[in-house]
C-alpha cells in the first residue's frame, strides 16, 4: 500500500523547508497531468510528494525590464491567453494552445513540462527558441539560473537535483521588431503528442530588410529540444523571401536527418519536416506565404 507522504507548502519559506527534506525519491507535484498518471504504475513510488498547488505566487507572468519572467506554475491555459506572453513570447502562447486538451491545459504547468523532460515537450521547444534561462530554488534557499539547454539532458532526464524546484523561466521579452512562431505535427489535429515541433524566433530589421537575428529550435526529433545554430547563421542577414523559406526548410530537414539517423521514423519525419518548416515560416508573416513544389 502506498506509503507516500504529501506535503502542501504554502509560501516560499515552506517550499524551501520541504525541499530541504527531499530525498532522491521525492517528487514535486505541479499540475499532476504527468505525475499522477505515473503514480498508478506499481513500484518506484515516491517517499514524498511536494504539492506545489498552494504556491500561487509561482504562477505569475511579469515583465522585469527587458526580461519576461514566466512562473513555473503558470498553466498552459494561462500562457495561451496571457497578454504579456502573447505580446512578448508568442511562440510560447502558440505552443501552449496546441498542447493536449482543454482539461490538460487547465492543469498542466510549464514547470512540470520541463521537469518531466519528455522528448516531445512542446514547452521545451518554445522556451529553447526564446533562449530561456531556468531559475530554480533549492533546499538551502538558494536560487540558480542556467540556460534551458543545461537543464534538459535527454529524454526524461534533467540536471535538476532532487531538492531543486523550477520556479520561473526568464528570457528577453520579444519586442516590436520580433516575430515568433510555433508549429507542430502530431498524429492528428488536436490532442496529440508532437512527432515534430519547431519554434522560430526572428528579429527583423525593417530598415535593412533582413533577418537580423534568428533562433530555430526543433523538438520531438532528439532526446530533447535543440537549437540549430548552423541554420540560424545561414538565415541571418538574409531577406525574408522564398529563397530563405526554402533554406529554412532544407535546414530543418538536415537537422532532423542528423538528429535521428537510422531511426524507424526518419523517412516520415524528414518529409514532414518540410511541411513543418513552411508552416512555421509562413506564421511569421514577414512576406507572402511561401509554397514549395510538393511531390
Amino acid at each position: 500500500m502506498s506509503q507516500t507522504q504529501v506535503l502542501t507548502p504554502e509560501g516560499i519559506d515552506e517550499l524551501v523547508a520541504a525541499l530541504a527534506r527531499a530525498t532522491p525519491r521525492t517528487r514535486l507535484l505541479a499540475g499532476g497531468t504527468d505525475l499522477v498518471r505515473e503514480l498508478r504504475r506499481p513500484g518506484d513510488e515516491p517517499d514524498v510528494l511536494v504539492d506545489l498547488t498552494g504556491l500561487t505566487e509561482l504562477a505569475a507572468v511579469r515583465r522585469d525590464g527587458a526580461t519576461l519572467r514566466v512562473g513555473a506554475l503558470a498553466t498552459f491555459t494561462q500562457l495561451q491567453w496571457d497578454p504579456l506572453v502573447r505580446e512578448h513570447a508568442l511562440c510560447l502562447s502558440l505552443a501552449a494552445a496546441q498542447l493536449g486538451s482543454a482539461q490538460i491545459r487547465n492543469a498542466g504547468t510549464i514547470g512540470g513540462n520541463i521537469a518531466n523532460a519528455s522528448a516531445c515537450a512542446d514547452g521545451a521547444t518554445a522556451l529553447t527558441a526564446l533562449g530561456a534561462d531556468v531559475v530554480t530554488l533549492d533546499g538551502a534557499g538558494e536560487t540558480r539560473t542556467r540556460p534551458i539547454g543545461e537543464v534538459l539532458l535527454g529524454a526524461g532526464r534533467t540536471s535538476l537535483r532532487h531538492d531543486e524546484a523550477i520556479i520561473e523561466y526568464a528570457f528577453p521579452a520579444l519586442g516590436s521588431e520580433h516575430r515568433s512562431a510555433f508549429a507542430k505535427i502530431g498524429s492528428r489535429t488536436a490532442v496529440s503528442v508532437a512527432r515534430l515541433s519547431a519554434a522560430l524566433v526572428v528579429r527583423f530589421d525593417a530598415v535593412a530588410g533582413v533577418l537580423a537575428e534568428v533562433r530555430v529550435a526543433l523538438g520531438a526529433v532528439g532526446e530533447s529540444a535543440f537549437l540549430v545554430p548552423e541554420l540560424e547563421r545561414a538565415l541571418e542577414g538574409r531577406a525574408a523571401d522564398d529563397e530563405s523559406a526554402r533554406l529554412f526548410a532544407e535546414g530543418c530537414v538536415a537537422a532532423v536527418q542528423a538528429s535521428i539517423p537510422g531511426r524507424y521514423s526518419l523517412p516520415y519525419k524528414e518529409q514532414a519536416a518540410v511541411g513543418l518548416a513552411y508552416d512555421a515560416w509562413n506564421m511569421l508573416a514577414l512576406s507572402a506565404p511561401s509554397e514549395p513544389a510538393w511531390a
Binding site: V36, T53, A102, A107
Partner: protein, 225 residues
C-alpha cells in the same frame, strides 16, 4: 490525510489516502459516481469535473490539490430538481446514447459556456477535444451545446412526455362505465367494488360506499355518482 473539499456547494471533511485522486474521493468516498473512470490517464475525459471554473481531468489530479477550491461535478448541475439548460439540450438533441461520456461532456461544455457564452462550432469542438465518445460521432453533442448557448439548432428528439401529461388521458364516460360494471356484476354475481386510485376523489372512503363528488372513473355498487 484530512481533507476539506467543497463539492457542488457542500463542504465535506474526509480522511483520504494522501495519493488518492480527486476521482477516487468523489466516487468512492462521496458516492458521487456520476464522474466516470475511462482510462486513468487524462485522455478520455470521462472523469472531467470543474475546479474553480476550469475543466480538469479528475483522474490525474490528487484530491489534495483541490483543497480550498470550488469543485463542480455532474451531480451539481441540476438545481432543485431542475435540469441545467445543457442537460436539457443533451436530452433534446439526442446527444446521449450509452451515456458514459455524458457527464464528462457536460462538464467540459459547462466550463466552456462559463467562460465563452456564445461559442462557435470550432470553439465547441476544441473544448470537447479531450472528451472521447464512441457512440455519437459528436454531431448531436455539438448541436446540444450550441443550443444551450442560445444559438439556433434543430432539435432531434421528442422530449420524454411529462408523466402528468400522460396521466391526464382518457376517462371512460360514466354511462359506458356503468353499463360495463353491470355486465361484470351479472357475470360474476358479485357487486363490483373498486378501490380508489390516484385521480379519484381523495375524500371518498376507499373501502366502500360512494363518496361526495366522486370522479367519473370511480365505480360504486350503485353504478355511478
Amino acid at each position: 490525510m484530512q481533507l476539506v473539499l467543497t463539492v457542488n456547494g457542500m463542504t465535506y471533511e474526509v480522511e483520504a489516502r494522501p495519493t488518492a485522486r480527486l476521482l477516487d474521493v468523489l466516487r468512492d468516498q462521496f458516492g458521487l459516481t456520476g464522474t466516470k473512470e475511462g482510462c486513468a490517464e487524462g485522455e478520455c475525459g470521462a472523469c472531467t469535473v470543474i475546479v474553480d471554473g476550469k475543466a480538469v481531468n479528475s483522474c490525474v489530479m490528487l484530491a489534495v490539490q483541490a483543497r480550498g477550491k470550488e469543485i463542480l461535478t455532474v451531480e451539481g448541475l441540476a438545481q432543485e430538481g431542475e435540469l441545467d439548460v445543457l442537460q436539457q439540450k443533451f436530452v433534446e438533441y439526442g446527444a446521449v446514447q450509452c451515456g458514459y461520456c455524458t457527464p464528462g461532456m457536460l462538464m467540459s461544455a459547462k466550463a466552456l459556456l462559463m467562460g465563452n457564452p456564445v461559442p462557435s462550432e470550432q470553439d465547441i469542438r476544441i473544448a470537447l477535444a479531450g472528451n472521447l465518445c464512441r457512440c455519437t460521432g459528436y454531431t448531436t453533442i455539438v448541436a446540444a451545446v450550441k443550443a444551450a448557448s442560445g444559438q439556433v439548432a434543430t432539435p432531434l428528439m421528442e422530449l420524454p412526455a411529462a408523466p402528468e401529461e400522460l396521466a391526464a388521458e382518457v376517462v371512460t364516460d360514466p354511462a359506458t362505465l356503468a353499463a360495463a360494471c353491470e355486465i361484470v356484476e351479472a357475470e360474476t354475481g358479485a357487486p363490483v367494488g373498486v378501490p380508489c386510485l390516484p385521480g379519484d376523489d381523495a375524500d371518498a372512503d376507499p373501502f366502500g360506499g360512494p363518496g361526495p363528488g366522486s370522479s367519473g372513473s370511480r365505480v360504486t355498487p350503485e353504478g355511478g355518482e
